[in-house]
Amino acid sequence: MAGRRAAIKAIDWAAFAERVPPNQRPMFNALKTRSDALSARLAALPEKPPAIDWAYYKSAVAKAGMVDEFQKKFSALKIPEPVDTQTSKINAQEQEAAKSAEEYVQASKARIAQYEQELQKLKSMIPFEQMTFEDLHEAFPETRLDKEKYPYWPHKPIADL
């Protein structure tokens, strides 16, 4: 009986649901309904089938050896357990997911570093009251007027005024 019951871990569906991003919610709901259906089906089936009353049948059936034969064959019968083909695939998927998650976390950290850098630059800026136009163009390069492309005042297309 050791290999029979693969441990069914208790899953905290509430915590799981928290971590699901909103664009994957339908998939999560489908998974949950399937899990619930499976667990309902499992709960409906009895763990062991009821025992057959051999004594009654021995007394009832006239044919002599039939009941004994049935009983012998029945107790000798070994029902094969269903073979688990998918768990290895799941484990492989898990490995892949771990790897891609690593990459994602790395990229995310790089993005965070970039944001932090820009945030630092913005926070350590001199206040606008003390800036000259040169300082402004240094801090915000998009405010710099392109004097080569538009040599005449106001140095930007009229529509942008």
Partner: protein, 249 residues
């Protein structure tokens, strides 16, 4: 004319002198970056310009003359100079003087009356520009912070991926277990069905035999009734009936 130049040159000369130590510095001189080493931003511009009396004469002139002539010194000097120009006809009074007086009086009246409002308006324009720039900066900061929060949250979400695989494995285990139980149940049901069939068959056979036997016995009994016996039984029945009818009457 030369004296006018002298008058104009005096404040400039005064400004280049170090400010007098006695009274507090009202006009801070701005050191300019002449060497390459200064990388710090410039100190902010002073809020107000240099103090001026009567709109024309800087305060430093009065402070300059104060030690020697007291408070009324510069005024005496001014009055004396004006009287000197008028009396010596260095400044000639003609029609342009009248025009100057009229124009200057109107100008001064206008400036005194509307000056503060115009200044406030100009300040407001400037404030708006600054406020707009500040708003843009604040928005950028908030956006960046929100983005950082979002990234951290996504990282936290990614950490929950183990749930998914646990759920999948659970599903598989449940499925296998359910199938196994189903198989057990099927076996039990089949065996029971067969045994019950045997029992039912037996019962049916016995019942059929019994019925047939009863029928056969009845038939043979009926057949064995000979005509002689029939006549006797009919006569007996008639006698019985007569007796009964007699008792009934």
């Amino acid at each position: 004319m030369l004296s006018r130049l002298v008058l104009r040159a005096a404040p400039a000369a005064l400004r280049s002198l170090p400010p007098p130590v006695t009274v507090g510095v009202l006009h801070a001189t701005r050191p300019l970056h002449t060497s390459k080493q200064h990388l710090a931003p410039l100190p902010p511009l002073p809020e107000k310009g240099g103090e001026v009396r009567h709109g024309l004469i800087p305060e430093e002139f009065f402070q300059f003359l104060y030690p020697k002539t007291g408070v009324t010194g510069p005024y005496m000097l001014g009055t004396g100079l004006i009287l000197y120009f008028l009396s010596k006809e260095i400044y000639v009074v003609n029609h342009e003087t009248v025009a100057a007086v009229c124009i200057l009086s109107i100008l001064i009246y206008g400036i005194k009356k509307f000056g503060p409002d115009v200044a406030a308006f100009a300040d407001k324009l400037n404030e708006e520009k600054l406020a707009k720039a500040q708003a843009v900066k604040n928005e950028s900061i908030e956006g960046l912070e929100a983005a950082i929060e979002q990234e951290k949250k996504e990282q936290w979400r990614v950490e929950g991926r183990s749930y998914l695989f646990d759920a999948k494995r659970n599903n598989i285990a449940m499925l296998l277990e359910a199938n196994y139980r189903e198989r057990l149940l099927t076996v039990y049901n089949e065996v029971k069905k067969r045994l019950d069939y045997q029992v039912a068959m037996q019962n049916l056979k016995r019942q059929k035999e019994q019925d047939h036997m009863i029928q056969w016995v009845e038939k043979s009994v009926v057949q064995s009734i000979t005509p002689q016996q029939q006549k006797e039984s009919i006569a007996k029945c008639i006698l019985d009936l007569k007796a009964l009818s007699k008792t009934a009457q």
